[in-house]
Symmetry: C2
Subunit: 448 residues, 2 copies
């Protein structure tokens, strides 16, 4: 098969060896988190991140480094206070959820309506919460795959609307996360045209435990939430794009991406500075090979992922005409831990090729997963347009300890794990870009 | 010897068995951290903690439960903002140090003067820092014994005066701690008559790393500190005292203590809710024995330890006349992990007895340490007055991950480790209280 010649094997082995001992990704994420830090979508900080990216990609010698701008609504947080007023007065550590409304000046006070789960809130009567502050508990299950996130994040998305419809004046949730530190997890709320009309905040796990213990005593709690947030309708964001131009089929695009924006609480080290570093370093190692691959490797650093994949949608729209030339797409957006599995979503005619490809990174500790990959968020618009998906799965066991918290900082990254990611990406992307397999062939995805 | 009769051994064994499976201490610290929470010295919250303690000690059936009040100056924190203005604008996670001054309205801005260590700051010229904001780095060494704390805490105590003398307008330190989470460590500053005249704050370890990385680039940094703090001269605090009255020599006092106040950021679970729980539970188990011990076991829950051992000093003054009847004193104030060593400071004539006593808890994993114990902070005034000291050393390996941070919360306590502490205290204190050894005999302390 295409991937299995002695010369090709030697090239891949050399690439893996080089990547495994490269510090480039570690240096890139150090630079981004130190020199830019937090970079909320649509803000001046995200613009500085684009400037950083253009400078970095140019310095590294990529082809055709460019920014593709778009506009989007921008939400920002202001001061926040959350406290128990009675029976046991104390401040809680909390953060506003993305998209949440301000409280009236001075905040809102009310009896806390405790719901052990989001399902309980959904099942509550249509009235009865007037003037109250809803609290939704619900712990998240720690998993390697990240499958605990879906069930846990439902409350973050929609508890506001369930509470608001029933007359509540604010909503508090237990942070969507797996740690037990005094750091809250922010994140976006789910809405379409109508923005949330009430304040919505997440408290840290120890604070959530506190509310749970008081509720378990059968005590009536009064709480206060004072939150100031703001919307700006026309913020500027953008995707930063760079390429390793293909030597024979430059119009055929192998896309690897990550997102450049981050939540504002941490410095976006594992979400998603590490992804930026992994794909940029992998592409740079490919660019430095004796000759460029047949096809073009395109690096896309998406803007505004956290607040609604605005960059990904803008990319899919702007590149609609060439999506049929996208051979495959992969995004690294699940932290900085090692890749343990390779999933895909390719045509059944290319499955044998994908299985063979997976074998080339087996020595890096990667097992072959199924063909039902959905891809990380920024490649979902591409997947919906029929672009095949490559999904190297990172170990997510610890990811939600840090995800969307102030604690997402550079010190959490293990340089050896990061280098393993680079080696996996470089090896896979090089082989795909240097080959001519059509991964869309008989594009019938097999469910996992 | 006194401690070694078959009947006494059986009683001690039964007490250890009972304590090791008791949940009482865990319930006590759950109650204190949930129903009171943070309890800064001299505040209304500390008063609520005294009310809680009186109710709890009374409920448990102790003798002569009482509060001994005193007044003290009270420092409180207000809003704080610390940020890098240039070259890489970003907010830092910080907390004001206890005793620090407010900045002028709007805060102070200045060039950051980076000192890799407190020794470097101490060695700096007498001028040259005018208008600057001093930063002192210095990491803390993780140890089981806590011996990393002394060297690390010097900057927290005195960096303000070194900086202020040289004309600096504020001082920032790396948190005194061993974790790498986005939680800052507060703590008291060192001063006597003259209160600090500048703002002093600690940044979390990841933020300190950030400053270190930028400094390593050789970049000039401008930072801003805006801190509001306040002093109140005549706050009320108090010690809460309860006893298990001795059956034969009630005037002879075996004192076990802990401190009831906490810093305001966390809920004071390991500092020092766990200590409160350990000594109260140990005394309760002794009270529940078939007959009370010969001597009186006195439980003292000291107020205002964190801000200058005001409660300990008030106790030593108020009880000056009976200090000669204090047989020995011990304070539990080093977290909630297991006791691994027993140190003491007793007269040389009682060393054999102390060695024999230590053997009775060897089965709980406790090794015999030296006779140079200084005691935890609240028993130091007693030690200075000649009271013998018993110091069961807790494993401090993880203690400074949480110490003085928002993260000092109930979820961090392991109930089995807590029960081990109770078993050690109960066994040791019961034997001392039920015996007649004079631990002051030939009171020449041996250095460790």
């Amino acid at each position: 098969v295409l991937f299995r010649s002695a010369a090709a094997d030697d090239a891949v082995d050399a690439l893996i060896a080089e990547a495994s001992q490269s510090r480039l990704a570690y240096e890139i994420v150090e630079s981004l988190t130190t020199e830019v830090g937090p970079r909320l979508a649509g803000t001046e900080a995200e613009a500085r991140a684009r400037d950083w990216a253009v400078a970095e990609l140019t310095r590294l010698g990529f082809d055709d480094v460019r920014v593709e701008e778009y506009t989007m609504p921008v939400w920002e947080r202001g001061p926040l206070e959350v406290e128990i007023l009675s029976p046991y007065p104390q401040r809680l550590v909390a953060t506003a959820l993305g998209g949440s409304a301000s409280t009236p000046a001075g905040g809102v006070e009310g009896e806390l309506a405790y719901f052990a789960s989001f399902a309980d809130l959904q099942a509550a009567p249509a009235s009865g919460l007037e003037g109250k502050i809803v609290y939704v508990d619900d712990s998240m299950t720690r998993t390697q795959t990240g499958e605990g996130y879906g069930p846990a994040v439902a409350k973050r998305g929609s508890a506001w609307s369930e509470a608001q419809e029933r007359g509540a004046v604010a909503v508090i949730i237990r942070s969507v996360g797996t740690d037990s530190h005094r750091v809250p997890h922010t994140g976006g709320m789910r809405f379409t045209d109508t923005r949330p009309g009430i304040a919505a905040v997440a408290v840290s796990a120890p604070d959530a435990d506190q509310l749970r213990r008081i509720a378990a005593r059968g005590e009536t709690m009064r709480v206060r939430v004072a939150s100031t947030t703001s919307w700006r309708d026309e913020g500027v964001s953008g995707n930063v794009i760079a390429e390793v131009r293909g030597r024979e089929a430059p119009d055929e695009i192998v896309l690897i991406g990550a997102h450049l924006d981050s939540w504002d609480l941490g410095t976006g080290a594992i979400d998603d500075g590490s992804g930026v570093a992994i794909v940029v370093a992998a592409a740079k190692l490919i660019a430095d090979m004796p000759q460029p691959p047949r096809r073009t490797v395109r690096v896309v650093l998406f803007g505004a992922e956290e607040v609604g994949i605005f960059g990904a949608k803008a990319y899919a729209t702007a590149h609609e005409d060439e999506l049929s030339d996208h051979i495959i797409a992969a995004e690294s957006d699940f932290g900085a831990d090692r890749i343990w599995r390779l999933r895909s979503r390719v045509g059944s005619g290319a499955l044998d090729e994908m299985d063979a490809l997976a074998m080339t990174v087996a020595g890096l500790g990667v097992v072959r997963g199924g063909n039902g990959a959905g891809g990380a968020p920024d490649v979902t618009p591409l997947a919906e347009a029929g672009v095949p998906i490559l999904e190297p799965d990172q170990n997510g066991w610890d990811y939600f300890d840090l995800h969307h918290t102030p604690d997402d900082t550079f010190d959490k990254i293990d340089p050896e794990a990061l280098a393993q990611n680079v080696a996996v990406y470089a090896a896979l992307i090089y082989q795909i870009a240097n080959g001519d397999v059509d991964f869309r062939a008989e594009a019938v995805a097999e469910d996992e």
